[in-house]
Subunit: 218 residues, 4 copies
């Protein structure tokens, strides 16, 4: 399958997964007032917001990676499905984390942190495997310049360290996993803006491997 279709299929899966996050939000009439339900569900709202940006960053990173390459081989395709398999599990691990983060049972809260952490770590490692495949098997559009290479290594390397660290923090005190991943995600979003806009191609037709992780590729 071609690169374009792998991207559009992945985009479709990411769009559905990000939307399904909202399935964990709900209210049902009963003895409890709606307002207390909402207040008691704060972990659901917090986890919803965090995972929304986590999947948003995955989508940005995915396109950054695919902008570097010209073709997709089957191993990359296999790894891409692995990545998506972890991403599609995020609505489940998010809902589970929200449900158990305040659990009276510390063991349950930790299991929920573990599940959420594993879906993120599986995602980060799939990305790193994809990046390694791309670099080592000549799938690149052109030799990456040192700046882009350093940024990509920093980006993927950070993920393989940052997500486990956030999970480890969460095993100590559960809410720390949300805090840690918020910091990580905010870094990813903001890091991308520190780019000299003058260097970008001005028109929609601009492209190129160097622009892969830039903000302004058309």
């Amino acid at each position: 399958v071609g690169k374009g279709r792998t991207e559009s299929f992945s985009d479709g899966v990411l769009a559905v997964a990000i939307t399904l996050l909202s399935f964990d939000l709900h209210a049902s009439p009963g003895r409890v007032h709606l307002w207390s339900q909402v207040v008691h569900q704060w972990p659901s709202f917090a986890a919803y917001a965090v995972s929304f940006y986590v999947i948003g960053v995955i989508w940005v990173t995915h396109h950054g990676l695919f902008a570097l390459i010209t073709r997709v081989d089957r191993v990359l395709l296999f790894e891409n499905l692995l990545l998506l398999m972890f991403v599609v599990a995020i609505p489940f691990t998010t809902a589970t984390l929200a449900e158990y983060i305040q659990s009276a049972s510390a063991a349950d809260a930790r299991t929920a942190v573990l599940l959420y952490g594993l879906s993120d770590i599986g995602m980060a490692f799939s990305f790193t495997a994809m990046f390694a495949r791309v670099v080592r098997h000549g799938l690149l559009a052109m030799p990456v310049d040192p700046v882009t290479a350093r940024r990509a290594v920093r980006r993927f390397g950070l993920g393989t360290v940052g997500y486990p660290a956030a999970m480890a923090a969460g095993l100590i005190w559960p809410p720390l996993i949300l805090a840690g991943i918020t910091v990580l995600t905010a870094y990813y979003m903001l890091e991308e803006t520190h780019i000299d806009p003058a260097a970008g191609p001005p028109g929609a037709g601009g492209s190129g491997s160097a622009g892969a992780f830039r903000a302004d590729d058309g």
Copy 2:
């Protein structure tokens, strides 16, 4: 990430979110006749129809905004995710509004109005932030002509005033929020038709910043 992909990802999210609105419609066999179930569920059907057009208008506005620009920077991307985060919450706030709009508890009904209003207001303010970013940071394809600029300001300004006004009305009498948003949405849909069709490019290849909010850009 490029403009085209941001649009297609956003389109995917909007398409899933608009379809998930139907999840609040359901009937289950029991002692109550189907006909009475349907009649008693009128708020679900009304809220479904209103939110369907609300998301429809969001989609139209989103494309109008993106037609004005040539590139996407990371802050805009961040704001776009914020916008989508509010939109994806609409199926939840719609279902909650439908469930509680006739609640015996006035407090519950008002909380539901507040939630529904906040998802709309969050959306309107995200749009305004995106428009401000586009104008102030040189993301425009070309300097917008005064007519387009005035229309865009009117469009985004109306949202930041209209949605809170509809919510305020709903806090007085809950059904007024649906009525208010229906009026607002109808205005958005109809306003767009008052365009001189002769001014539009005749072929599919036509484009341009001036046509961004026109009905006939190819």
Copy 3:
């Protein structure tokens, strides 16, 4: 918004709606053997298959209509949202029909037939309104040739008569609505194949208004 985006947004909504049809299929462990559950759920499977092809035909018809036009005006957009609103309700009306088609209460079965019929009729009339708009407001790519015009009128005219007829039959004996719509859908699918393949453009680049309802437009 442009024609291409209206098509891709509509495609997204149709793809999600057709997939959500499967949500009515489920089995749960209990006293009843899985095999009997499946046998007793035959209306769910039958309704699933029928609605799957109904939405499939809607998708084919939608593209046939859009292949005729060069631009979309806001009234057409409004009508398109109306069409999608009825389509997105089909998973709900399908599930309700499957649930109540064998109901001991004849009134409940008829209500379910009515709901299912109304979602189809609303869809057929929205399509007819769209076709009328396209023809009367100069949105056509070029004057349609008489053959295409006659086929389009037959297609849309048949829907506005056929769906109400199937519903009427179902009000007499509920399963007749599924039988009627199966016949109608099969006709739509097969009618499209009676086309001279020699007349089609051989390459992927071929297009044209006359080919709008042909099988082989690229």
Copy 4:
């Protein structure tokens, strides 16, 4: 409808179906610890992973088939809808298999194996019918070369034999259906990598019928 739209509609349906697989994963607070819930749900996780790659392979095969052809006729469209109808049922048959694979009732476990097997077999036979249609009715872009033809026959032929064999094994001992389909899916994924990369077009613009089942078509 054109080939491109049939592909993008099918992609949309496949993306939603693959994402809905995660709906069978869930945990709910109660007397049972989260960790035991996860352990006892191992069939859900196993079935999720297997079906994820099954739908992934369907997507790869679908594009391989469509890369061979230039146009779509209505019979092919009908068959494509049949294929999608079986694919969309996979989340249901996967959830049912996971639920009943460890059932105390051997009859229930076998019924679940049968349902899961039938959704796969129906998919494999729809693909074979599509391939036959494409070859016999001149929908090919150009006469396929012998290598591509042999690979396509092997691919589709394997499916019509392999899925029923996996189901037969599962009727003897239920978990064997998951093992059998894992082997089959792994073969499909790996088989595709044994291709001489030198033969592929280097740029994104490359295409051609011979490249349909290759890894590197742009």
